[in-house]
Symmetry: C3
Subunit: 385 residues, 3 copies
Amino acid sequence: MNVILTDTKNQIYKNEFNFVSKKNKNCSVKKYVLNGGQANGMDVIEVNNGNLSFVILPTRGMGIWRAKYNAIDLKWDSPVCGPVHPCFVNLDTENGLGWLAGFDELIVRCGLQNNGAPGEDVVRHNDGKTHQKLLPLHGRIANIPAHFVSIEIDESDETKITVTGEVDEAMLFMPHFRLKTTIETTAGSNSLKITDEVINCGTAEEEMELLYHCNFGPPILEKGAKVVAPIIEVAPRDKIAEPGAEEFYLCEGAENGFEEKVYFYNLAARENGETITMLKNKNSDKAVALRFNKNEMPCFTLWKNTAAVEDGYVVGLEPGTDYPNNRAVERAAGRLVKIPGKSSYKITLEMQAFDDAALIAEVEKEISEIQEDVTPEVRLKTMSE
Amino acid sequence: MNVILTDTKNQIYKNEFNFVSKKNKNCSVKKYVLNGGQANGMDVIEVNNGNLSFVILPTRGMGIWRAKYNAIDLKWDSPVCGPVHPCFVNLDTENGLGWLAGFDELIVRCGLQNNGAPGEDVVRHNDGKTHQKLLPLHGRIANIPAHFVSIEIDESDETKITVTGEVDEAMLFMPHFRLKTTIETTAGSNSLKITDEVINCGTAEEEMELLYHCNFGPPILEKGAKVVAPIIEVAPRDKIAEPGAEEFYLCEGAENGFEEKVYFYNLAARENGETITMLKNKNSDKAVALRFNKNEMPCFTLWKNTAAVEDGYVVGLEPGTDYPNNRAVERAAGRLVKIPGKSSYKITLEMQAFDDAALIAEVEKEISEIQEDVTPEVRLKTMSE
Amino acid sequence: MNVILTDTKNQIYKNEFNFVSKKNKNCSVKKYVLNGGQANGMDVIEVNNGNLSFVILPTRGMGIWRAKYNAIDLKWDSPVCGPVHPCFVNLDTENGLGWLAGFDELIVRCGLQNNGAPGEDVVRHNDGKTHQKLLPLHGRIANIPAHFVSIEIDESDETKITVTGEVDEAMLFMPHFRLKTTIETTAGSNSLKITDEVINCGTAEEEMELLYHCNFGPPILEKGAKVVAPIIEVAPRDKIAEPGAEEFYLCEGAENGFEEKVYFYNLAARENGETITMLKNKNSDKAVALRFNKNEMPCFTLWKNTAAVEDGYVVGLEPGTDYPNNRAVERAAGRLVKIPGKSSYKITLEMQAFDDAALIAEVEKEISEIQEDVTPEVRLKTMSE
């Protein structure tokens, strides 16, 4: 079964959609529209594979709002009472921090022209002149609604649910990127897999940045929770992250007035580029793992914001094409993706949830095997020092 | 009867709601959604107590759009054809004056981070650094939709209608305020009473400003209309308000090219803080009075914008926690409210309408009694001179 | 028949409207609402006179999205997947180029406070002080929804369809313009006629700029397509437009990396001010002509953006009250319209489509007659040199 929910070009739109699998009674897909408050008019798609359920937000660039694996909530409690319709988000406000007014998702894409800290950067327009412009925090893609959304349900073998979306980041004279995403899951699994293709629809080569801001609160996050990863090198982003840098992987309990600490990783990977990072709770019986390919996303960033629960107690695992510095910094470091005209760049990201200590131990073993004989270099000072 | 109209957390939303009292046939509550133009998608609640009716705008932060008492319209004709959905208001545009694109309400809250003139102010983020940012005119709260709205109708005694709303002004790393408002009225009365609680949902102490911009046009406003108030001291805001400062309380007729004149009051009050200000027409047979507590709102501002009817002929009575100067000025003067983390600040404001000279005389007498033996100091020059 | 579709003041709104003429079976009017993506919630009116059909966008200031005359598409393919709801357009972003995020229309009005390049200009507020502010590219009017829309169908003679709309560009203390537009067409004709009245609703005189950005892609636009016009003088806007300025009227094929070339015309006109410009394809058998009055719109601008199809292959014919320079430039050149308070300025613009070589030759003859004995001055350098 293949159902188009939204196709603005062909004026197709379904307010509601409901599917319950006959093969797997607990498998379902549900589309509806939110009403009221800052969520008014937002499209929502709930996918449930029986064990893992998650909520997709077509109106917010096909981000994933929250998920649940058996009894484990995969989400965090942002001060923002979301989800928030992009019409209430002015990216440029607050010196380019306006993106935060809509930020409460589990997985949010940051890009496509830029991600990371807001700030001025120089760009070349097609009038041949260079322009200085404000790049807003984490770019535009999370605040653009998908113009195409479809759902495919394949029950030939195990029930497999695939949600496809297309989101255009475009303006005349500017880069025209099309994000084509598929988000898929299989009945009973603990996993969702995102396959993104960023198409440069224009004819000129364009710089691209894409980072997946994956954010987890309790119950996986708690005092003593750990981030496990195969490491070549890791370093604090700035002075604030230096104290405690030797325990960069360790999460604290919620603390009033805690200032965010960010660590930049150079991950070890298998020969084919595959790598894994995992956040597990103190007892190692609840975890979430991210699987991706270092050839696609060479950079990994850990965001520890273990502030008070009321202020947003959260840890972010952020695989990306780059580190979330201002784009000028990333350009100088040679970390911008350049997509030729009419070409594209592909990224896959799998999120797995676990509530079984044995399975978590297996992932840890996988990570150890990737680490193998690489001696991780843990820097206690920022790279620039 | 208690009905929840909006609760985004629990995905409750009612498009329509209609109540007509059986006890008081003229008492009614009506909720509907506006369509078309800049009002498209806005929630509206009309409350009618038989004599006084008023329109609440949940989509604009629970502001009160307009009201009517018997034959008297309580409203003004802004050049803006409202009500205006916040998605059409860019607060930062026009050097921070963008708020004006949505401004046509009877009672609009200005806050919660700031009110008054737009301008730069220095703030401290939780990264420990100070940042300079643009504070837009009158802040954000009036352009944020309520995420919770309910209606309570109590007919155990006189029919009493209470509308409750919650509006969050929040971003990660920034102050997280929750405005909890109840707006209540009783069958047949001439009064509506606003009880606001501003909750600092975060853990750190935050600076707060809140002012109620209450705006009245004809028929109460006319040449010879007067603002009556118990005064300790009153002063023009700036040079423009100095000419005519001796008759600060007197309203002019509509005049092409009139430039707004603003006066800052230090009001006299009863021992418990209660005070009253009133705008009455020339003949003293139509009036509107505001009752509030000086302990909650120590500042009162009079805005005389007696421009041409086409340009917005209006007078604003503005009780507030502060004067509507740039926040830096108010901080220096010690007039910012500081709300500790997880604490709140309460304000009540009652608006009464009158079409009876005897009752208006009674309110004047009340005001005289508050004035008592205080000799009002009327400054003809700005305070800073 | 006269039907009001939208009247926000009187809370009238029709979600849908359908009319099919009994007299002319192919004549129809259809109103509906778009759903999904960036078009969500937009009102659309499709008018079909049997030969010419066109789509009006009340939500985007009564612009005309696209049209079709017999087999000829009148439109262009912007990188933007429109139509785009104004709530997704931040005019101030990208240094004032944010308007481009919504730009994909056939005919879009640029104004009313300014059109043309973004930039700082000095304005005088009613507080008597001068302020510097950013004027965003092409002004605000195209991103404001109409608050009033009606349709009149007159079948007393030939079926005549007239769509009326009102759009307010207003803020307290700022210019208050009301655009009153009628867009009309007659059964079987090749023409639509726009009659606009810009009303200064305020009492003070205001500066006004209005330009009609009429944009055409294939099939009329192709390599060898020509812009025909009666010319007193024509000049390149800038250095980029100088190379090839001798063939300013000639259109190129789509070319990767082409940089837009803009030419400013001083048109010849009939004694009563009537003038005509036309874009015709290479074979002179497909064309579109604009008829307007030089007394109303003294300036005409040609925008050749013959970039790759993927990047927006388009030519713009732009009659206007001014040239699309920064407003300060136009003021200095004496080209701003000044509308006294409570007065208005009228403009008519007719668009005709042709698929018949003989009729196109007739229009060319008309243009020749207007050119008559005026010798066109073709400047190869910008005026300022």
